[in-house]
Amino acid sequence: MSGKSLFDKVWDMHIVASETEDVPAILYIDLHLVHEVTSPQAFDALRTRGLTVRRPDLTLATMDHSTPTVPINSLQELKVISEPEAFEQIIQMEKNCEDFGLKLRGFDSDERGIVHVIGPELGATQPGKTIVCGDSHTSTHGALGALAFGIGTTEVCHVLATQCLLQRKPKTFAVNLVGQLQPGVTAKDIILAIIGEIGVDGGTGHAIEYRGEAASRLSIEERMTICNMAIEGGARTGMFAPDDTTFEYIAGRPLAPSGTAWDTSLSNWRLLPSCDDAKFDKEATLNISELKPMITFGTNPGMVIPVDGVIPTPSATDTGFAKALDYMQLEAGQPLAGTPVDIVFIGSCTNSRLSDLRAAASLFKGRKVADGVRALVVPGSAKVKRDAEAENLPAIFQAAGAEWREPGCSMCLAMNGDFVPAGKLAVSTSNRNFEGRQGKGARTVLASPLTAAASAINGVVSDPRPFI
């Protein structure tokens, strides 16, 4: 029998009842992240059935999706700014947390932010934990060696009530990273290239482990960017083996273990990485030495080219491809670089952490956003905002003519007042370029913070490498 993979180990440790042919496994959940958009109907179901939240202590609640990213000092101000339904959702979240005894990282909290940014930042995300949230980008937490995946609202209710989920074990998929990134090429480019390679359904039914010497050299924030978009390749989740980089990142964070508990945790965490002879159901390898900055040209994250490439020509039978180019108002056989840009969005749970903002600032420093371009920089959390302020990054953004906003999901999904107007082209560091994702009729080019900043400065989709 071959050895266990990281995924197998974490899975096996959380089996409350084993799966059989007739029944899925009952999987215990160590951390449940809750936000205002996918939880209201789950709390209602609890109420209807007279149930309570089983483990409020394992439930972390915040507000990020429908919350505006302009400064808010009172509920009254929020009411004026928000659309009525978004306001209702926020009020409902406050009420649900109060009624069910959950601590909410709400507007007044200095720990508020995008769920997938604050989990790791608070030290709540730890190796070997099972983590779920009513949000597909929960895979982000896999960067620290957790098994983390998105669930629907019915399952949110299951976890609230029982701290467990009925789950069939997914297959495993090893993505080997080899080589060394060139200057100007980032973790975002790695994951865009992977999705381009395996396709938007290449990971369906699988849990990905990113492996290899190149994987172990990546910082935790880089790993988060990569795990974040595992779902865009169809996978249930993405994971990195925990290592010293992971442990250093977690040590000293507010919800991290300390004292002897730290020592115990550490020795457990060290046992988690996949055994050398672990077998995976599927494998792929990417040499990152050859990688260039990547940009999307279509309406899913698999429609991706190097920044200096040309848009491929669709086969005559591929109606989806033609429809995507039509929506994007782009032409096959043409380069995408050089296309005029209307909006640049630097933010989202993919790329809104301090390292992302530093990268963007390194390009904006002493330069200006091109005339006619609106550039927004939206920190992923209140802490990222404070840390960036401590380094004077906002001053750099503002001097360049970019907006510096309050934390939240912002323009990633256009349900909080920030959106890309119809027909406008946005270069965005978020994770989805679906039709209408950033606003009805919005045209999205996904890119790294460096590529986004370079595009803001030049006013056209641009290769960041000349700036480096």
């Binding site: 007739d22 209201p40 949000d135 209710c157 029982t162 467990c164 359904d201 249930r236 256009a414 349900m415």
Partner: protein, 191 residues
Amino acid sequence: MDPVNKITSRTVVLPLDDVDTDQIIPARFLRTTVREGIGENLFADWRYQKDGSQRVDFILNQPSAQGAEILVAGRNFGCGSSREHAPWALLDQGFRAVISTEIADIFSNNSLKNGLLPVIVDSKTHQWLLDNPNIELTLDVENKQLTLPDGKTVSFPIENFSRYCLLNGVDQLGFLMEFTEVISEFEAQTR
């Protein structure tokens, strides 16, 4: 959840691949705290013009689509976000099943929990269904088979527990709650 066994209906065909949940229901319609009325916004950006009137060229707006309960979709239907609003919207609009060669994981999971049947067929059957829109099919959960108009049957996979829950209208939370003690024991042992 009401039990689901046999579904007999005409099909409506949406042949595009990789239809994502942002198309099924755009995020701006997720600012709801209830489930009712959500079907109105199903495929909103494809179904309606700027002024709110229906686009005649969109398949769901055509007379042939009215009353159809089976959606034949392109490959990788439902990719993208975990929003359960996607199956809710399809159900609210009257759909009871989606057929494709591949359906995204979370969407499929969410669908089963709400009684929307995800049906995976081989690519030959799929192509035939795409080429022959607006035909009557029967989907049989118990026997895991699809019956074509000529009486030919094609089997489809469905996970045992989901099948059991669909056939009996089992509420999965009720099932999980029966394990409360086992869960407590697990917590006592491991934490």
